[in-house]
């Protein structure tokens, strides 16, 4: 079956999740990916949302991380204070999903401002819990379309720390985990020993030149770049008919 870039990102992100992982889910692609993984290979995936719902099992598509469908039928609901302190800072979250307006070569993410902080060209929503997720989850998965403006060599503002730069060790700053994968609409990237982003898989039909042209620095490629697996018909049917029947996040 034909599929869209977004559908490929959903299946690629779902593949990153393991059974028994506790995941701090985001809205949109991460939510679809977690629900897909739970239906297929990770039935024991525990979905936790930034609003404090624990073990959510949404019967319909949540419109935001604070949607009532995430509280109804959850195994627990915590205050923001408890969720962020006991669950995230306490080390009980295996995977966190992050996005942002800019991602740089060390996986640092900007969701605060484009331009100067005190005189911004664009004022973005800010960290919310993103800085905490980046600092405290055991690993983070970044999701973003690959475009020059979204992938500059250096972000305008570090909202959520990745590997910072080649010299800094996250652990020395008291940070747990770090970015593990970057899911884009053209390729999937990982990080090398210096914390620099490196292309590991190209999506079907995408060339190395396509990826270079869409990245704001001379991005490195792994020696053995593989092809991303295309979504199966079963996955596409599940996504379209059950997980996002109205096509809210798939257009």
């Amino acid at each position: 079956m034909e599929y869209t870039d977004t559908e490929l990102m959903v299946t690629a992100a779902a593949e990153q999740l393991e059974d028994d992982d506790s995941v701090l889910v985001g809205i949109g692609v991460p939510n679809l990916a977690c629900n897909l993984a739970k239906r297929n290979h990770a039935p024991n995936l525990e979905m936790i949302y930034e609003s404090g719902t624990i073990g959510s099992n949404p019967s319909s598509l949540p419109l935001s991380v604070g949607d009532p469908v995430l509280a109804s039928g959850a195994v627990g609901v915590e205050s923001m204070l408890n969720g962020f302190s006991y669950y995230l800072q306490g080390g009980r979250i295996d995977v966190g999903f992050l996005g942002g307006a800019q991602v740089d070569k060390y996986g640092n993410i900007n969701s605060t401002v484009i331009g100067d902080y005190d005189d911004p060209a664009v004022r973005l929503p800010g960290s919310g819990g993103a800085c905490e997720i980046a600092s405290n989850a055991h690993r983070t998965i970044i999701i973003s379309p690959l475009e020059q403006r979204r992938f500059p060599e250096e972000v305008d503002f570090v909202t959520s720390p990745g590997y910072l730069d080649a010299e800094t060790d996250r652990a020395d700053l008291g940070l747990r985990g770090g970015p593990d994968a970057v899911i884009t609409d053209k390729a999937i990237m990982g990080f090398d020993d210096d914390g620099e982003m490196i292309v590991e898989r190209l999506h079907p039909g995408v060339t190395e030149a396509d990826v270079r042209a869409a990245t704001g620095w001379e991005i490195q490629f792994a020696d053995d770049v593989e092809r991303t697996r295309a979504p199966t018909d079963d996955e596409l049917r599940l996504i379209r008919e059950e997980l996002d029947p109205d096509g809210v996040y798939l257009d």
């Binding site: 949607d67 205050s79 923001m80 800010g126 905490e132």
Partner: protein, 317 residues
């Protein structure tokens, strides 16, 4: 002095905390105050926010982890000089456009911002509620936020060599908090997402508690684990059905997502926002008129099916 205004009388016969929204806001809020309208997507006190706009307050500092549409409306109405926050957006939709206009272009007036992360904000509220000088958090290391907020500092652990970021207490002048039900004294039951309602209420000097419905103290006492905060925290109780529309109250009504999508369009221009405020805030006397204007169909469309929790046995001791 009327007898009921005499201090001794008020001690012997304390007046009910139950009052109207207009009276609660008028008593609680002054120009220049810092205000916390609490809620994480759930139970946002829109009715109170609209009353503040109607009453024409100015120079307010709005504080909240998740400023959303009602803060956008307060900013557009010119009530605000500062926003302290951690995520300013239209949840699940996009930007907060009036907030952005104020920050990016000074329209209708420039606003100062003080920015945290979610955990930074709720840790600061916790410090305020618990009378602590600061709270340590494992957040902010490696983030550029620390360069732009002097209140975020670092201390060395008195128990080792670690350096750890700390946030100061946030103690709003007024918190406006919401729950599904509460008694006349302000003991309140909340279910669903609690957000930072408790911390905001306990950190603030004056608290207005909005409830979807008043209930008996017996109801509260039947399930004390459901109690979000007790009467000692609360100064004014306002019964305001659909007081959170267009946000939601778990089990009572769903979020009116059309309103969130409409706001995305309306808020694209300052002029359209003023026209919206004229129609939906200045143009109605109170929440009841707002609901009448909204119409029965709109409210019925937000009805949810019941899914009752299983009763628990507290035991009769």
């Amino acid at each position: 002095m009327a007898l009921y205004e005499c201090p001794l009388w008020s001690v012997l016969y304390p007046m009910s905390k139950v009052t109207t929204m207009a009276s609660a806001i008028s008593d609680a809020v002054n120009d220049g105050d810092s205000l916390y309208l609490a809620g994480f997507t759930h139970l946002i006190p829109f009715a109170a926010g609209h009353e503040i706009i109607r009453a024409g307050y100015s120079d307010l500092e709005l504080v909240r982890a998740t400023p959303d549409l009602v803060y956008d409306q307060l900013i557009a109405a010119g009530c605000v000089s500062k926003v302290t926050f951690s995520w300013a957006g239209n949840p699940g939709v996009g930007s907060l456009r009036a907030f952005r206009r104020a920050v990016e272009a000074g329209v209708p007036n420039p606003i100062e911002t003080e920015e945290y992360t979610h955990y930074g904000m709720v840790a600061a509220l916790h410090a305020g509620a618990a009378n602590l000088p600061f709270m340590p958090v494992r957040t902010f290391a490696g983030s550029d936020l620390v360069d732009h907020n002097d209140a975020i500092r670092t201390v060395s652990s008195p128990y080792g060599d670690d350096e750890i970021p700390v946030v100061p207490p946030i103690e709003p002048d007024v918190a406006i908090v919401s729950a599904q039900r509460g008694d006349e004294d302000g003991n309140a039951h909340l279910w669903g997402i609690p957000g930072e309602q408790k911390e905001a209420a306990l950190a603030a000097d004056t608290v207005v508690c909005c409830v979807e419905e008043l209930c008996s103290t017996e109801t509260i006492r039947s399930d004390p684990n459901r109690t979000l905060f007790t009467a000692d925290a609360v100064d004014h109780v306002v019964e305001v059905p659909y007081g959170a529309h267009p946000s939601y109250a778990q089990g009572y009504y769903d979020r009116d997502n059309e309103a969130y999508l409409e706001w995305e369009e309306v808020s694209k221009s300052h002029e359209d926002v003023q026209a919206w405020l004229d129609e939906w805030v200045y143009g109605v006397e109170n929440r009841r008129e707002y609901l009448e204007k909204l119409g029965a169909k709109r409210l019925l469309d937000l009805e949810v099916d019941s899914r009752y929790a299983t009763a628990i046995d507290m035991g009769d001791y």
